[in-house]
């Protein structure tokens, strides 16, 4: 009996097509009869909506820059900039959402009480259903399925969710074969002295890969640490998202004694069209799982063809395969595979 109730809650469409669904924050959202236009409140949401049904996305959070636009078909790259509605600092206003003739508002990311109450308030104001989904890597398949149901694209969403699940499973299986786990430090910002503690969304990939995060003891989200502390941790691998930091670390006497620098194991994550490792904190980070997996565990991930992974992810989620030149540029960027 309990499992039936569970099924009814999680898969309402199975029971009744117009029944409400429960979003990740526990709010009930009634799926609109027909969804043609979806407003994504932030970049991770835009990415998922676009992956499921690119023609239903009304616009990006911010206009695409040329280096990002090159990865998308022109009509999608030119979608208007609508601003973000939630998260840190709104740049959209509710009238913009209304003017875009939106049928559904979606946000993917944190599902805490603040965002839930904002969603309820906007839904009240606009009478447009507003759903929140969890943006973590592990919950991406579930978010894809729920979103697909809300948008009336169950088929497309299921295909993506199943593929994503399979990728995660394949990565997880490789992780179980790993015997030695190097100590990893994630350095953010121009000086590389901001990092993510245990459980922080910024280092979700490290947690997923079962890596030993040097800053695990910090137990905070993003945090600033001192260089002395990093030298004390003495990480064997440093991952970063900041090209300025990656460039300067090699000539900086202060970093010279750190094992990762001496062993030239400092790596810069690719960031186009969306970052691979940290931000935006959405489905895009699957590529970071493969990238970091190969760097941290060269043996267990040795057979992973990063080029093929990028091509497939782009085809499914961005609806266009990168050209050979684009792949060369992306993977040949200084730092992506070390110095």
């Amino acid at each position: 009996m309990r499992s039936l109730v569970f099924i009814a809650l999680v898969f309402p469409s199975v029971c009744q097509s117009q029944a409400t669904i429960v979003d990740a924050s526990g709010r009930e959202v009634r799926p609109p009869a027909k969804v043609e236009r979806v407003y994504a409140a932030g970049p991770p949401a835009g990415l998922l909506v676009f992956a499921i049904a690119p023609d239903k996305l009304t616009g990006w959070t911010r206009a695409m820059r040329p280096n990002e636009a090159q990865f998308f078909a022109e009509k999608y790259a030119q979608l208007p900039e609508l601003g973000r509605l939630t998260g840190r600092g709104n740049t959209a206003n509710v009238e913009v959402v209304l003017k875009a003739k939106t049928d559904l508002i979606v946000d993917v990311g944190s599902t805490g009480a603040t965002l839930a109450s904002l969603a309820s308030q906007v839904q009240e104001q606009t009478k447009i259903p507003y759903a929140l989904f969890d943006g973590r890597i592990e919950t991406t398949p579930a978010a894809l399925r729920s979103l697909g149901r809300l948008m009336g694209n169950e088929g497309e969403a299921e295909k993506l969710a199943a593929w994503y699940e399979n990728e995660l499973k394949s990565a997880r299986q490789r992780v179980t074969r790993v015997s030695s786990h190097p100590l990893v430090y994630y350095g953010r910002g121009v000086n590389g002295l901001q990092t993510g503690g245990s459980g922080s969304i910024n280092v979700e990939i490290l947690d997923f890969l079962g890596a030993r995060n040097a800053a695990a003891e910090a137990r905070t989200g993003l945090a600033a640490v001192s260089l002395e502390q990093v030298i004390l941790w003495n990480p064997e691998v440093i991952l970063t998202t900041d090209p300025n930091y990656w460039k300067t670390i090699w000539d900086d006497a202060r970093w010279r004694g750190v094992k990762a620098v001496a062993a030239k194991r400092v790596y810069l994550s690719p960031n186009l069209p969306f970052g691979w490792f940290d931000f935006p904190p959405g489905a895009n980070r699957l590529l970071g799982v493969w990238w970091a997996g190969k760097l941290l565990y060269p043996q267990a991930f040795g057979d992973v063809d990063l080029r093929a992974k990028v091509t497939e992810f782009h085809r499914l989620f961005y609806h266009r395969e990168p050209t050979a030149a684009q792949l060369d540029a992306m993977l040949g960027e200084p730092g992506v595979s070390g110095k």
Binding site: P43, N191, A224, S226, E228, A253
Partner: protein, 335 residues
């Protein structure tokens, strides 16, 4: 020895003791013996058998940071002392003419345009100078007012304008990457000080401190109305320009490497005034000693009490607020 001289000696002694302590503590354990043998090796030019990371920590990381705390603390306290005396106002801080806000705008621009650390610091330094230059230029053109009042009011409004520009950039910045970087810069920190930062900021700060120390006895006259000072044979306009230039130079140099660290420039002049009275000639050297010691103590706590860095501005405010209130309850004498 009179009591005033004793105050200076005690302050200098406390500063020396604190400096030694600051060198001895940190997240990376370095023993006193190791520091001592490193010091011997450096002075005599002989080799030592210490681990390479011990030398890196002491010479490249902790050493520059300790010295930067001394320089930044002294510079902020000196600028605060000069401005409080000049504007005859106990609530004046080094930022009254917009130097920190201008520096912040410069740094935020640098972060917004994804520049490296050198350009961020350069933008911050230039921003601080430019902001005060603008305030001074406008303020000295507002005729028919008390020149000091015109300067302060211009500083306040221009500061507000620059503040809105910072707010706009924060609003437009990438929320996942740039916004946290901006927030960290605005919180201030000495965590990332490198020998190069110190090499750039310290000479500029000293360049500002030198004329101020030389002119410190005459700076008392800045508090007088212009005509009275002129009767005493002092061109206050010229003197004011020199003092503002010197204070701006050292504050901009300090803020460019440390970000905004509040309270030092406001609190320390009061503490020093309590000890030696309002005469700037006596006040300025003591304020510099106390400012250096205060920021060094705060920064040492910031880098040692937790795995993660504590923003110094938070500690200076926690210490500063009750101290400031206590000071005002205690001191009834005119400052």
């Amino acid at each position: 020895m009179n009591s005033r001289a004793l105050t200076y000696v005690l302050a200098a002694g406390a500063l020396l003791g604190l400096t030694a302590l600051a060198f001895a503590v940190g997240r990376y354990p370095v023993s006193l013996g190791e520091i001592f043998s490193l010091l011997i090796a450096k002075v005599t030019g002989s080799s030592h058998s210490l681990p390479a990371n011990v030398e890196t920590v002491v010479m490249q990381v902790r050493g520059p940071r300790v010295l930067a705390a001394l320089v930044v603390g002294a510079a902020l306290a000196a600028a605060g002392t000069a401005y409080q005396g000049m504007f005859r106002n106990p609530l004046v801080s080094p930022d009254i003419l917009g130097v920190s806000t201008g520096a912040a705008l410069g740094a935020v621009l640098g972060i917004f345009f994804s520049q490296g650390i050198i350009f961020i610091q350069l933008f911050a330094f230039a921003g601080g100078l430019a902001a005060v230059g603008l305030v001074y230029w406008i303020g000295s053109r507002l005729r028919g007012h008390d020149p000091l009042l015109a300067l302060v009011l211009t500083g306040v409004v221009i500061g507000t304008l620059l503040g809105s520009a910072i707010a706009l950039l924060k609003y437009l910045a990438d929320p996942y990457n740039q916004l946290p970087a901006i927030t960290y810069w605005l919180l201030g920190s000495l965590a990332s000080i490198s020998p190069r930062d110190l090499g750039l900021a310290a000479p500029l700060a000293l360049l500002g401190l030198a004329p101020m120390l030389l002119l410190r006895w005459r700076m008392n006259l800045l508090a007088l109305p212009d005509d009275e000072a002129r009767a005493l044979g002092v061109d206050t306009r010229k003197l004011r320009t020199v003092v503002v230039t010197a204070a701006t130079l050292m504050t901009a140099a300090a803020v460019a490497v440390s970000g905004i660290i509040g309270w030092v420039g406001l609190l320390i002049p009061h503490a020093a005034r309590l000890l030696v009275g309002p005469d700037i000639g006596r006040l300025l050297p003591l304020a510099m000693l106390l400012g250096a010691a205060f920021l060094l103590a705060v920064d040492t706590l910031c880098r040692t009490i937790a795995t993660i860095e504590v923003p110094p501005g938070v500690l200076t405010a926690l210490i500063g607020t009750p101290f400031f209130l206590w000071l005002f309850a205690l001191a009834r004498r005119s400052w």
